[in-house]
Amino acid sequence: MNSFWIILFHTYLNKLKSKSFIITTIITVVIVLALTNINNIIDMFDKNGGKDKVAVLDESGQLYEPFKKQVNTINKDINLTLYQGSEKEAEKAVEKGDFKGVIQLRYNNEKLPEATFKAMGIADSALFTDLQTGLQQLKTMLAASQINLAPAQLQKLYEPVSFEKFALEKNAKTEEELNQARGLVYVLLFIIYFSVIMYATMIAMEVATEKSSRVMEILISSVSPIKQMFAKIIGIGLLSLTQLAAFLIVGYISLTNNLESVKEGFFGVYGFSDIPIGTIVYAVIFFILGYFLYATLAAFLGSLVSRIEDVQQMITPMTFLVVGGFMIAMFGLGKPDAAFITITSYIPFFTPMIMFLRVGMLTLPAWEAILGIAILLATIIALAIFGARVYRGGVLMYGKSNSFKDIKKALQLTKNE
């Protein structure tokens, strides 16, 4: 077998079998499972099947039924029960945990409803607000009938105002669509950000380990450093794809199993119910390109240090670039069409995240994405050529080397004067 493949699979299999890899994969899979099953988990901890039970003490004897109707239209999950007993007993029941709270309904002087709500805590504002809104609506209805408004008049009063939105730009996404795209793009951006940092660091560590353990000198006498560098980058790249594939498959299966419950909740709003294929394809492309860009950078930075302790220091500027790109992308999530975002999306080190953000959130003409990809490819090739030269000299350099002057020194080593 070609030495390139030997190194590639050696790197891949060794990392794959390593404890740290297996542990991080398992932990992340558990997190993915937890996230995709979040509705079930919330339900599990909620004894009443997710419903808030509220006792109703109806002093008027007439308000319970209409109130219940109103509240149910607002939130089906609030379960109102007419409580037969004294106020004291009802409070006791709340303390025992039978009810979330107790609401006392009565008429005031003007024959309009008013209420007192008692609960163990008043932090659950959602429940309180729903009950209040329900009662408010009931009051409006009663007040309207008190002043003898005709149903037609009443309807007019309630008619929603007409308010239409138009985007002048063709193909512009509506706010709703943008919201949907935002969730998916956010998650994918985070994956790109996280994986690029993690795997690029892994490569730098790998190179530095070989250097500091001095096995490097035997390696480079057997196989050319450039071949080694790329075999390593691709080996770790395969590893990252393996790990991501594991997460995606687990996530996908788990999501489709819970599709019904998930669709209604949080995930539906943020665009996970029907994932646009285009966005995923772009995510994969930009992930791979971003990985290659930073992996090449990390490999040659790693080749410059002699001790593993210096790796972090050496790759800090690289990490800043990734973090910077991510920050800009986070800003761009809210304002994807800002000029600032457009410009930064063409700066190679930011392109993987920001151009992806733009293709994910906006309706971009194809050439913009292609131009971004082309810029990235060109940068990767340039960096690979430059990096390979530094790497070749860097791996032979020992000593206290943790400054960027060493790049010059490393290049000088490979120079053929």
Partner: protein, 299 residues
Amino acid sequence: MVLKLEHVTKRFGKFTAVDDLSLEIPEKEMFGFLGANGAGKTTTFRMILGLLDSSGGQITWDGKPINYSTSHLVGYLPEERGLYPKLKVRDQIVYLARLRGMTKSKALIELKSWLERFKIPEYENKKVEELSKGNQQKIQFIAAVVHKPKLLILDEPFSGLDPINVEMLKEAVLALKEDGATIVFSSHQMHHVEEMCEHLCIMHKGSPVVHGGLKEIKRSFGKKNLVIHADFPLESLENYPGVVKAKTTMEGIQLQIEGEYIAEKILKEIVGKGFIRKFSLEEPSLNDIFIEKVGNSYE
């Protein structure tokens, strides 16, 4: 399969590490490379291996340059020992051997026989970091020779080993030479080179100061060592004309003299003064030559 270095020079910026070095190392020969620290030995090895490009001159082996297409024929033991600390001996050797073009099954057979030879077969499944330094060095040596190289470059192969292990390793190196490998090795230890090499080269500040066959070098050095053990004081000989250096020992005196004829004169001088237990004229040791050639230019 002659290894030929012709006017090889290596400069790092303004610093010249190797200056106009020409050598010829015949096939199946053991060649010793001597030099103080920083003399350019490792740089020369790295150039022979193609890890560094020379700034001038040519290095050929069998008429062709050494590069990655010949790497399966070349074995290298670097001065700075290094293996993957977390890998098992077996995985390590197999990986490195495969990179040198060996198949896994053949590498395993070779590894087993080498471990037997070094009497450490139980280490096959141990991680390198669990081994003692001497044993790590044996593993390192196996890594350099497991693929049966035709050209073997050993940078300080015996440093840091106890005498028993040094002997074991020496035997192994000699056996490899018998099998037809050309071996170049460097050492600070003169007696290793004296014992094992037919030809040698002493490097100093990048240039060869002495180069040739061991016997010729000694002969052309001229100066001889004279050891005298006697019952009467010998201090007066220290200033005898023709004596270059003198060192008083427990039992007598050790002189470095300009030539054999001085010994004759000294013998006549001391005969009759008392009982002479030993009077021996010896070839200069490589150590003397090294100190003279390298030490002088230090000043």
